[in-house]
Symmetry: C2
Subunit: 398 residues, 2 copies
């Protein structure tokens, strides 16, 4: 039997595959991208479940509309009004089965085989996976410390008129933890506005900031072909698979709605009504504050341990929020080799390779800190440091 | 901005669009395909929710595996062992976000642009929608009263070597209510086994039988490239969007898993654990028996009313189970014209057009009986009958 070219070209997630190895109970894992389960508001969700069933009865269990539960879309409208002063209407919002589905829908709607997508380099591997099913050409633009390399972005757009959209994660980027600076956002906007392309801002981590001020979006609210993606996975629960697409482009939204119908009819209404009940009957800001405090402590523990145990030739990002730190090893060191050595010492992380659309055997890797205790973080980084010293030319000084 | 050809060719669901009109409270609607909400076991689900949270805690709210919740997959294995004597393993099963997603995943995995899909004519419009996103060539095989037209199926497979799969709904077919006979299943099997094609048996309604004996599947359990699709939407709740794919073809399952990762990572685990708890702690057979009794009464009410109020030139199917009756008007009568006239009299149904991949202005239509009371059914059919008499040459005799 022959399979489609698009599925043969789609990478099976390196992370999902290694999670099967790294999930052993004696492994210290910095590999996943999971929220800390102690951050799930289980008691309040239980109350909302009871309340939602009492109030809505059979409606929770019946088929529902493709665009999603109207009160939840209204809540999202108000959220952006309050947090960013943005003016959206409920019809600008479609609820998706997690943010991952948003990536799949948008690429299906926009991409004919061979048409272009601009990806950050490195970029989110789930997006690379989802987009690959649409058989695009990937164009990469380097992610600098303060955001997209604007010059390279402009060259890429100018020289490749088949580009349909640009995919960005401007806040606490996955995998690097980088946040685009205010100046970089403005510069990206000034370039993108001159081209007939869609700008996607995928923002699952934006609320998880513990340092610096909240920044405006690049295109949301001012660019005609702007798409903003959000998610409840990192602030309430990922298990319910609830994300959303925001765009004021009505034609684009119409096509996304058709693709959504064809893909799964509509998002789980049972979960939509429950999460809406939770959101309107609890103080989300104070809940998110608890998550932020937790993650900040974990991030600082990891950064301090890296300063203490890693050779000084190893570079890494210092995130202002979110879930990830990006590590760059000495030129020529293979992160994949490092991964195998680390697994022997029962420590896991994700080597950089799957975050690139074409590079392999890179010297970069992703560390997640949200799902380990400070003690585990200290111990895990210590073990990684030992291996790194044995891999580098520097003498071990610890 | 330009959109992809695949989305421009994908029909927006006629049903979902007309539901917006037909959902007005004073309309008698036979248009939807919704289970009757009085069939949802709300109290027992509430108990299972509480129990599942108590037993599993944070696990309900965290990310989970792409293939789905293992105990739920084990339950499905046991179900088919018990009901059909089939031997599946949990790794033969992947939980999907409703059966609709199964259609999307399989077509993405198998179809390169232009490759062939055999569809029943008429066929399930949700499948036509999902498959269109993969840009296939559709080949139709007429659905006779006892199943697929075997001669036409053989000719189609023989003459079109680009065909990758055959899509069937062998039990209480949507839209026609037809069930493939035992002899037809055997004859279809004898043809299909000689070709390198996948046979999909989509079976969301199979448990809802009130007449005749359960029949064996066509290919499941004996055809190498067999795919069986199931759903909890019609026997428990559609709101949770829980369906599943069954295949013993490991390579096919591997690719479906990758497509599922790329599409939405995994199915809502909160709902998976709850439905599993419900299934193992309740007597599903006795619950389904209640649904069957309800639908049988509704179907009989509709059939009796049609015998009483419809002109004798109007033909229709007499289902042994499921949710639909298929009506064939006199040659030359437009079901779409009939629809508009019926809407003036506040009665809705689905004209046949969207169930064909290429025909339009057909003389067929679909009636759903599961979501109206016997009184509403009698009244609605009476109004339709009046219009039909005015449309046909026959003199009204009522």
């Amino acid at each position: 039997m022959k399979y489609s070219n698009k599925i043969l070209n789609t990478p099976s997630s390196f992370i999902r595959n290694i999670l099967k190895v790294t999930d052993a109970p004696d492994v210290i894992s910095f590999a996943g991208g999971l929220p800390n389960p102690i951050s799930f508001p289980i008691d309040d969700l239980q109350k909302s479940i009871n309340h939602a069933i009492e109030e809505n009865g059979a409606k929770l269990f019946q088929y529902s509309t493709t665009e999603g539960y109207l009160p939840l879309r209204q809540y999202i409208v108000e959220k952006y009004k309050k947090s960013h002063g943005l003016d959206f209407d409920p019809e600008d919002i479609l609820i998706t089965t997690g943010s991952q589905q948003a990536l799949q829908l948008i690429s299906q709607v926009l991409i004919n085989k061979g048409e272009g997508i601009v990806m950050e380099e490195p970029g989110y591997l789930g997006a690379i996976q989802a987009f690959t099913l649409a058989e695009p050409s990937f164009y990469t633009v380097v992610l600098d410390e303060d955001g997209l390399n604007v010059e390279q972005l402009e060259d890429t757009l100018k020289n490749n008129r088949n580009i349909k959209f640009i995919y960005t994660v401007p806040n606490f980027h996955n995998p690097t933890g980088i946040t685009y600076s205010r100046e970089n956002r403005e510069a990206v906007y000034e370039v993108v506005k001159n081209y007939d392309v869609v700008l996607i801002e995928d923002d699952p981590y934006g609320d998880l900031r513990w340092h610096g001020e909240q920044l405006p979006y690049i295109g949301a609210g001012r660019l005609e072909n702007s798409v903003l993606l959000g998610s409840f996975s990192k602030v309430v629960t990922p298990g319910m698979r609830l994300g959303y697409i925001v765009t004021k482009n009505k034609e684009l939204m119409h096509h996304i709605n058709t693709a959504k119908q064809a893909t799964d009819l509509h998002t789980n209404i049972f979960s939509q009504i429950i999460i809406h009940d939770y959101l309107v009957n609890n103080d989300l800001d104070s809940h998110v504050k608890k998550i932020i405090n937790l993650y900040q402590t974990q991030a600082n523990t990891m950064l301090n341990a890296m300063a203490k145990y890693f050779p000084s030739t190893v570079k890494y990002t210092k995130p202002d929020g979110g879930m990830f730190i990006w590590v760059t090893l000495e030129e020529g060191t293979s992160a994949l080799d490092f991964f195998y050595k680390a697994m022997e010492e029962k420590v896991a992380f994700v080597p950089g390779d799957p975050f690139y659309t074409s590079k392999t055997n890179v010297n970069t890797l992703r560390l997640n800190y949200t799902n380990s205790s400070p003690e585990m973080i200290e111990e895990g980084i210590k073990r990684l440091g030992k291996i790194l010293y044995s891999l580098t030319s520097e003498k071990q000084i610890v």
